[in-house]
Amino acid sequence: MALQSDRANGGSGLNDDIGEAKRLELYRTQVTIREAEQRAYDLFLQNLVKGTSHLSLGQEAVAAGFAGAMQKGDLSFCTYRGHAHTLARGVSVEKVLGELMQRDNGLMRGKGGSMHLTSADHGVMGSYAIIGAHLPIACGAAWRAQYKGQKDVSVCFFGDGTTNIGAFHEALNFAAVWKLPVVFVCENNLYMEYTPIGDVTAVHNPAGDRAGSYGLEKIVIDGNDADAVYRTARAAYDKARAGRGPSLVECLTYRHSGHSRADPAKYRPEGELERWKERDPIKIYRERLLQFGIGEKVIEAIDAEVRNVVDTATETCKAAPMPPMDILTTDVYADGGWAWRN
């Protein structure tokens, strides 16, 4: 799939509008996601991650770039494939793995599970497991910002398959008409669950080719290049903060793993995974760092630190207790309880 637009001179950019500190941050975020997701997979194989889980292996650059360009107070709205975006906002690996392992130390103490990671303190306003549902919700958060004159941006992540559901259409039109400070990020990883997106979509770029339906610019970028993602994100946030309305960004990327859990992803044509692995976002970004004169040592130190964080988190989670029974009926209602009668 060729890039159709590379808006901000992203992929190959040698200019240094990003800078070393941000680049190291983007790298660290990607590696953190990679290591944590890989660990989640290992833990799943050990039957320590229960329920389902949807990894973003291979899609790290999207999460890192969009989160990296955010300011404190900006809001993320994620899907079930939300570990990456949650980690990218600075939520600890321990809290995420704890939730996947359904332990009491998890982000939501096991009540939500892997598909619903939420950390309001970090601006992660929930992960939503019904396809499309969070696009209108992100509009609402953006409406609040607009109404109150607050300057935060709401950023909503979803997949290619999501562009075919009704809520996508309603949200995009709504956001455009109300000129809301919301950024819609479509991670086009070529598949819905097991079905190639092209088999079920009337256009080539499921998001990009539909931007015109909402009076928006077509933006399709290399989702495996964190710099390209970061620059695009920055531009979209600037536009939103300036009161110039929403953006719809399609990021071309690929998931290295199956859709969820034990999916062996046999539906993929031979060689596809390998081709995409050559464009592994972390590989690309390592090279970028070297290109910008950041030494191997620095990179390896980050790698080691991250691995250490993930290892420690794993041990903490393994040792963490299961959630206690008394949280079963808490927080159904705002009074803390669940009473539907007197």
Binding site: G113, C139, A141, R144, A167
Partner: protein
Amino acid sequence: MVEITYRDAVIRGIAQEMQRDEDVVFLGEDVAKAGGVFKATVGLYEQFGPLRVRDTPISEQAILGAAMGAAMTGLKPIAEIMFSDFFAVCFDYIANEFPKSRYMSNGQLKCPLVVRTGNGAGSRFGAQHSQSVENWCMMIPGLKVVAPSNPRDVIGLLAAAVRDPDPVIFLEHKSLYATKGEVPDGEIVDTLGSAKIVRPGRDATILALALMVPRAVEAADKLKAEHGIDCEVIDVRSLVPLDTRTILGSVSKTHRLFTVEENPRLCGWGAEIVSIVADEAFYDLDGPPVRITTPHIPLPAADILEDAVLPTPARIVDRVKTTLNG
């Protein structure tokens, strides 16, 4: 005290809350410039301006989703879904999003919003614009559900709903919009979760909601006057929270229970309350608890047909009389 219509009570109720709190905003289809298809929001746009009273596209999912996102982050939205039948096109928000996000997030997220809607039959609109959907909402854990039967309750319960920190479904009955009632001057604020004994009695308890309340009262008056049967009529008002105390208290006094429901028969609020009473007050009951409902069919459009399916005072009288007299 002043006599106003149920419709005007909606306007006054919304205005009261918007005046009190700048975070209260209102959105829906044709609600702003046009004042709503039931004219139940006339003047709000003029009074509160285009930033607080907003017309939307025909996008029910966007309406409820936007209300939720705004509620999560600091506003107190009131969203209108024009007809309650249209809950079916945005049911994901009602069933899966509003009521679950607080729990799933272990209390991190909140959802203080009100969904107002025109509910119920009597307008000869046919099967897709006449439904009573209280059970669509009552069955979902995490929602609150109210349905006022008179102008005073409209204002008081609407205020309570807007001030409530949880998602509240507010069912206005289309056939009550033109009815009148007295309301006190000044601010009115009621509490969710309280039923009201609107007519005390000793021989049987009749539970009713919304449009069925005046019909139950009329039936009770007839039952007293013509058959010497003294019924206690309770306006349930709030399905969640449910005032089981008042209901069980009444049954323990009258020993007989009737529910009068507009919704189709299966799995209605009447079934829930009958089951509660049958379980918890079985030995208080002197005879079978009886549900009087609309039959389990889609609603017909023709006036003569529609009038024949909803519970009427005559049908209530008949059913109570036959049941009690064996």
